[in-house]
């Protein structure tokens, strides 16, 4: 039984590694400027974690195989180096790994969160509410009008609570149910939560950020590939959470301009 157990551990370890090595269910392809930093971090971590995983499982299996069912008088031997050696090994191996991942990992994080948006980044506001995302473009004046929570009215399609009669800046704001952006143009995304916690996740963009009711947060990113992607909510927000999504279209500049014009006409 011991030898069979050892073999089972090895088979399970190898079987677990195969889908990773063969990219059977791969990460969605990266369409962002900063994503490669995350992907590199991911690959390094996968290599280190993978080696640690396989090594630990294999050695566990080998020791189970070798040291079970020994005769009653077999001599008890000490692992070379004893506890001291293992403690030193853990500090050195894991410590370096940890420092490397931690320190090099700050680069990817800093490039996203500690770098301010470019001066010409295009501002778009996204509002998350049970159970839809709505988007607002500032229009020709480049300014977002103020939000009035008391004016929010879904049946009138006043999703943001705009007072387009009295607020000058709101008059040309463009509200849409889909997000569109031009390719290779930095986007400055202002995030507003209408009711409870939500999150903005586009795997291909390598972006995930929670909305926080009471806090207006922002992120910035640049898409590098034309296409149509899904924005999904990842923060449990109620019964419609699974279905809370919107489409993100990345267009050429020309196609985006046409799209925005069409949206403006629909207001």
């Amino acid at each position: 039984m011991a030898k069979f157990f050892a073999l089972t551990i090895i088979v399970i370890a190898i079987a677990s590694a195969i889908p990773i090595l063969r990219h059977t269910w791969p990460e969605p392809p990266d369409i962002s400027v900063h994503g490669h930093l995350i992907d590199e971090q991911m690959s390094e971590t996968m290599a280190e974690a993978g080696i640690s995983f396989l090594a630990a499982q294999f050695i566990l299996a080998i020791f189970i195989w070798k040291f079970s069912n020994r005769p009653k008088d077999a001599k008890i031997a000490k692992f070379p180096g004893g506890a001291k050696g293992l403690v030193i090994a853990a500090f050195l191996l894991v410590g370096t790994e940890v420092l490397a991942l931690g320190i090099f990992g700050t680069k990817a994080w800093a490039s996203i969160y500690f770098t301010p948006p470019a001066a010409n980044a295009m501002p778009i506001q996204v509002q998350a509410g049970q159970f839809a995302f709505y988007f607002r473009y500032p229009g020709a004046d480049g300014k977002f009008g103020p939000l009035h929570a008391a004016l929010i009215n879904e049946s009138n399609e006043n999703f943001f609570g705009l007072d387009q009669t009295n607020d000058q800046d709101s008059k040309d704001d463009i509200v849409t149910a889909e997000m569109a952006i031009p390719v290779n143009r930095e986007i400055f995304l202002l995030m507003h939560a209408k009711d409870v916690g939500h999150s903005f996740y586009v795997p291909e963009l390598r972006v995930q950020q929670d909305f926080v009711p009471g806090l207006d947060l922002s992120i910035h990113f640049t898409a590098t590939k034309i296409g149509r992607y899904e924005i999904v909510c990842t923060q449990l927000c109620g019964l419609g959470h699974y279905n809370m999504k919107a489409y993100l279209s990345v267009y050429s500049q020309e196609d985006f301009d046409n799209w925005l014009k069409k949206q403006a006409a629909l207001q």
Partner: protein, 594 residues
């Protein structure tokens, strides 16, 4: 510390009558068994909930026979509504984390064996101890009652994030009374845990018998002691957090709700609250909680492996130091649950460093376990199989932590099935394997009968292979971007992953059915198992020095004296290759803790 009066403080007369003996018992052993029974009921409830969830995830429009009987509105025509899925999911998580993983390894086995392992007749506050169980039991009833009230249990997940947890029934089904019952149940649970921790800490520090220095305590005793210190501080924060949530519901406060929120076109009557405050309070408790769930298992695995390897671990003190280091570090890492929460991104980096560093003591413990196997005389039985299985599971679950500890990678993996795979393997399955190992190991002492080894091994094989089949694929789903807490997968990019979910569901149901083999073995052996000798495993610690099962005062009025450290194996004595802690026999030993 060892004088007679300290013992007299917890000396009580033999119990009389059925109620005192079996219901409102002051005996730590009965209380331990009561906790075990509660955890057993809870784990089967939690498991059945997971089956229903998994059936729905694999086959979303499946009519599950009888489901309409469980809930008034949750499953018309036996087809689960989206809200009911979330409600079942919330209850699954809450029941499992609190009433199984915190209860069985710590409260059940700890209550039964800690006093015996230190050489005491009972804990110093038997009435508080009795209260701790019944308070926990009431907490369970309050939680389960939410199934049967109004529009059902809360649907906000076991993490109950704000402001959904505080806005009331406008937030969705179960978000009114369901949340209040959840928070009340957990607040009551906290009280039970605090009473328990009080007993565990004082037992360990004050009731050790003559010769039982701290370094001579078995590793299980150290694990329970460290866990109870964590419990004291962690539950002390969760309880007021739950009270604040209840106040937001019933007293018009707004601890967790800011102003200007609009739900169903209605401006919500709250202002001044902080959404993130809940997350800080909850995770300050929540991260130590997961170590509360696993540290007793580490002690149990150490204890069982040593007995079955016939040698002590390479270092007793290093294991103690690492468990303590994990306990202390566990308070510094909680923000890794909040990397993309909207918290200051600099804080995310700050939390990621201790999160990566906590890998070091965990790795040392695993390396010492594996290194101690080298050159040992390993015995394979059901208990040692589950202990070894724990190591395999803990490694598998632990390495996925490398990914989640880094904020940049967490951008991709947060709130995906990668996280769900990680915590199920490293905490849930590993801890459950620890519970199984402890059961097969200590059942003979607790009941006077042996469990059936053949059925035990069948249970092990099905559980070990089954658990890997269920939870390893979760990691692949997460890498592919499969978001968690979805009741159905409607997004285009998720469609190719649905066959993986079907595979997982089948594995989950098969593995679940295998647990009935354990249940049958447990019940059958309790009444008809082979009679057990006092020391069936040829083990050394004090619990094996008592009669079987131990009498109400554990040692029959004659407290032992401790002459040896807890793991003198590989020696030559009159009993064989080991000498018991309470044996006055002097033998040649390699090393003795004093």
């Amino acid at each position: 510390m060892h004088d007679v009066s300290a013992h007299a403080a917890q000396h009580h007369a033999p119990p009389q009558g059925f109620i005192r003996k079996h219901v409102f018992s002051l005996d730590h052993k009965v209380i331990g068994k009561q906790y075990y029974a509660l955890a057993l009921v809870a784990v089967f409830v939690g498991m059945v909930l997971s089956w229903i969830m998994r059936l729905h995830l694999g086959w979303t429009n499946l009519a599950i026979p009888g489901l309409h009987l469980l809930s008034k509105n949750g499953a018309p025509g036996d087809i689960m509504t989206p809200e009911y899925y979330l409600q079942l999911m919330t209850m699954h998580g809450t029941i499992m984390v609190f009433f199984v993983l915190t209860t069985a390894p710590f409260a059940a086995f700890g209550n039964f064996f800690l006093p015996i392992q230190v050489g005491a007749e009972d804990m110093p506050f038997p009435r508080f101890n009795m209260m701790s169980f019944w308070v926990t039991f009431v907490a369970f009833l309050v939680l389960v009652s939410s199934f049967f009230v109004g529009d059902g249990p809360t649907l906000g997940g076991w993490t109950q994030y704000a402001p959904l947890n505080a806005v009331g029934s406008v937030g969705g089904p179960g978000e009114g009374l369901g949340v209040v019952l959840w928070a009340a149940s957990i607040a009551i649970f906290c009280i039970g845990q605090l009473l328990g921790s009080l007993n565990f800490i004082t037992t360990t520090l004050d009731l050790r018998v003559k010769g039982m220095s701290l370094m001579r305590l078995p590793l299980t005793a150290w694990a329970w002691f460290i866990t109870s210190c964590m419990g004291l501080t962690a539950f002390a924060v969760l309880m007021p957090a739950c009270i604040l949530v209840i106040l937001d519901h019933v007293a018009g406060t707004s601890f967790f709700v800011p102003s200007n929120l609009v739900i169903n076109d209605q401006l919500q009557p709250h202002s001044g609250g902080s959404t993130l405050l809940w997350q800080h309070l909850f995770w300050f408790f929540g991260h130590p909680e997961v170590y509360i769930a696993i540290v007793p298992g580490m002690g149990i695995v150490s204890h069982i492996l040593i007995t079955n390897m016939r040698r002590p671990l390479l270092s007793h003190r290093v294991i103690i130091g690492c468990m303590a280091a994990i306990g202390i570090l566990s308070y510094m890492v909680y923000g890794h649950h909040m990397f993309v929460s909207g918290m200051n991104p600099f804080s995310s980096l700050a939390f990621s460093f201790p999160t990566l560093v906590i890998t070091i003591p965990a790795t040392i413990i695993v390396l010492i376990w594996i290194g101690s196997l080298y050159g040992s005389r390993l015995r394979i039985n059901t208990a040692s199989l589950f202990a070894l299985g724990f190591i395999s599971m803990f490694v598998s679950g632990g390495v996925s932590g490398f990914f989640l500890a880094q904020p940049s990678i967490d951008i991709m993996l947060h709130a995906t099935y990668f996280v769900v795979g990680h915590f199920h393997m490293v905490m849930a399955v590993a801890a459950i394997f620890g519970i199984f190992a402890a059961t097969y190991f200590w059942f003979p002492k607790m009941t006077g009968r042996m469990m059936n080894e053949t059925w035990g091994k069948v249970h092990f094989w099905l559980s070990f292979v089954g658990a890997y089949c269920i939870f390893m694929p979760f990691h692949y789903l997460g890498i592919a971007g499969n978001v968690r807490r979805y009741q159905a997968f409607v997004n285009e990019y998720l469609q190719p992953l649905i066959p993986v979910h079907k595979f997982i569901t089948i594995a989950a149901i098969a593995t679940g059915i295998a647990q009935f083999i354990f249940l049958y073995n447990l019940i059958h052996s309790r009444f008809w198992g082979k009679p057990a000798p006092d020391n069936p495993w040829e083990a050394t610690s004090l619990e094996w020095s008592t009669p079987t099962p131990p009498p109400f005062d554990n040692f029959g009025g004659k407290l032992p004296v401790v002459y040896h450290d807890p793991y003198q194996y590989g020696v030559q004595s009159s009993t064989g290759d080991y000498v018991m802690q309470a044996s006055s026999e002097q033998v040649v030993t390699e090393h003795e803790e004093k």
